[in-house]
Symmetry: C2
Subunit: 339 residues, 2 copies
Amino acid sequence: MPSPHAPLLRALAGDRPEQTPVWFMRQAGRSLPEYRELRVGTRMLDACLTPDLAAEITLQPVRRHGVDAAVFFSDIVIPLRLAGVDVEIEPGRGPVFADPVRTRADVDRITAIDPEALDTTAIAEAVRIVTAELGDTPLIGFAGAPFTLAAYLVEGGPSKEHLRARAMMHTDPDAWNRLAGWLSRVSRRFLEAQRDAGAATVQLFDSWAGSLNPADYRTHVAPHSKAAVTGLDVPVIHFGVGTGPFLADMRLDGVASAVGVDWRQPLDEAAGILGDGVTVQGNIDPAMLQAPWEVLEAHVRDVIARGRSARAHILNLGHGVPPETDPDQLTRIVELAHS
Amino acid sequence: MPSPHAPLLRALAGDRPEQTPVWFMRQAGRSLPEYRELRVGTRMLDACLTPDLAAEITLQPVRRHGVDAAVFFSDIVIPLRLAGVDVEIEPGRGPVFADPVRTRADVDRITAIDPEALDTTAIAEAVRIVTAELGDTPLIGFAGAPFTLAAYLVEGGPSKEHLRARAMMHTDPDAWNRLAGWLSRVSRRFLEAQRDAGAATVQLFDSWAGSLNPADYRTHVAPHSKAAVTGLDVPVIHFGVGTGPFLADMRLDGVASAVGVDWRQPLDEAAGILGDGVTVQGNIDPAMLQAPWEVLEAHVRDVIARGRSARAHILNLGHGVPPETDPDQLTRIVELAHS
């Protein structure tokens, strides 16, 4: 059982623990040699659905870095795979769907699947293994936001500016709302499974929301993200990249306990926009992980100093750990945050 | 000779012609069947360096759409190719460099090349063919901004968040400044060749500037972009994607006559930030090109209405024409702007 006194949970509740809690998005993954070794011969989505393996990968960065939280090792398309959607992760490319969802008929077809019928046994089992070993350290549940999922699903794979998903909002708002509403329920089901098995908090990842203008975000996206996490009974962290122009909307009308800020916006400025009702998370520039420690250290100290203007601060990167990162840099950041 | 009364040039001078001038970034390219036909069997950079071909491709969208300007068909890496750098465009991927420029020694090696020694004969010849046919219609010269070029060159190819180039700014600011300064001179040389052969204005493309935080943009990037276009004696359009957080800096201290705005920011809001000293260009959402004409038309009318709050407005997309665009949608936009 994670302690309610765990620094991460205190910070999410708006409290300021003695030491700034720290974890890293994509801390479980390719930057760790022990991860690369474990993953040999196993495809990404298969690894996510093998409880022992997913649990071990989730735990690796906690053991190595001493971070304040584990984040469940998974992929945002896992609940779609569990829903029977034909999706694979192509190495070096990303999620690729055999049947893109572009037309009204495509939307009818996919939304006919009942999100409640998803078999989340493998997820629950992995989470139980993780939380049993973690003890006081909280596990963060993981899911993709409806827009980011749609950005892949409508296009059929990765794209730069997510034109097809963004076009659907205007071309056929009804089809868009049905699709995004369904994706919202699918991601919610995924989060509930993690919560029920012991995740103490969850993070909703809207990695591609930054391709939207504020009006589209507000009208066509935020309501679906909010529905995915409202009433989950655990604190919610909401993260997007390039969301500066509509940062206040990322609070999801108070449903989010913390908002993740990318590296583009100084954290004190972001805190000023977000106000006193929410904790900030971020926002070390991932590029700085390549710099010598003295340069990175100065940057991290600056981020921590700026974070003091928020009600509470969870130290993290402004986006995921790049695969080529020297993991020792991450360990040093944790030591600095805890010193 | 382009007439100084050409609507584009009047708008750049801060005047409001009767009809909103309109052109499209990447109007010469894959959205046109006549382009795809011409390009069969010719590699991208070879096409750019074959004067007849580059000129014909530049002229195609002017003939088809009746836009208010041609934009020189080229690639931002062309001046690097002319400098003897080993670069190729991989279809579906982008520019790939045989030797990435990552170390101090790499920077020494590449900056030893004299930008003044670039043989721009093929560029000048293509521009002369184009301007002879264009008559009153102005040709916009084309070049990449130093940061966007560096984003490719330091990484060795396309990347999502341009970590290596952004890291170099902090890890070795001296090497960064030498590299960006050299790229600035290379792009300037490319623009001068186009101007000398008849381009009436130029646009500097900083497509990846949006990956920077405002402080990095101001300190490590803007001075080099400014140096590339200061004192060119033709109006300068400066364009970037995702540059909302530092839009005012895109004016380059008054050197830019117009600033391009991407689709994320309402044009009236952008005009408010940019002030009365500069013309705005943009910002039709490329995703809307996929929508039925009634939906696209309403969007274009909204963009034109918002553009009225600027001193002058050049209608354009918020980024380049996507390859899958139905070219008739572009023609309709021109007709609407001219109606």
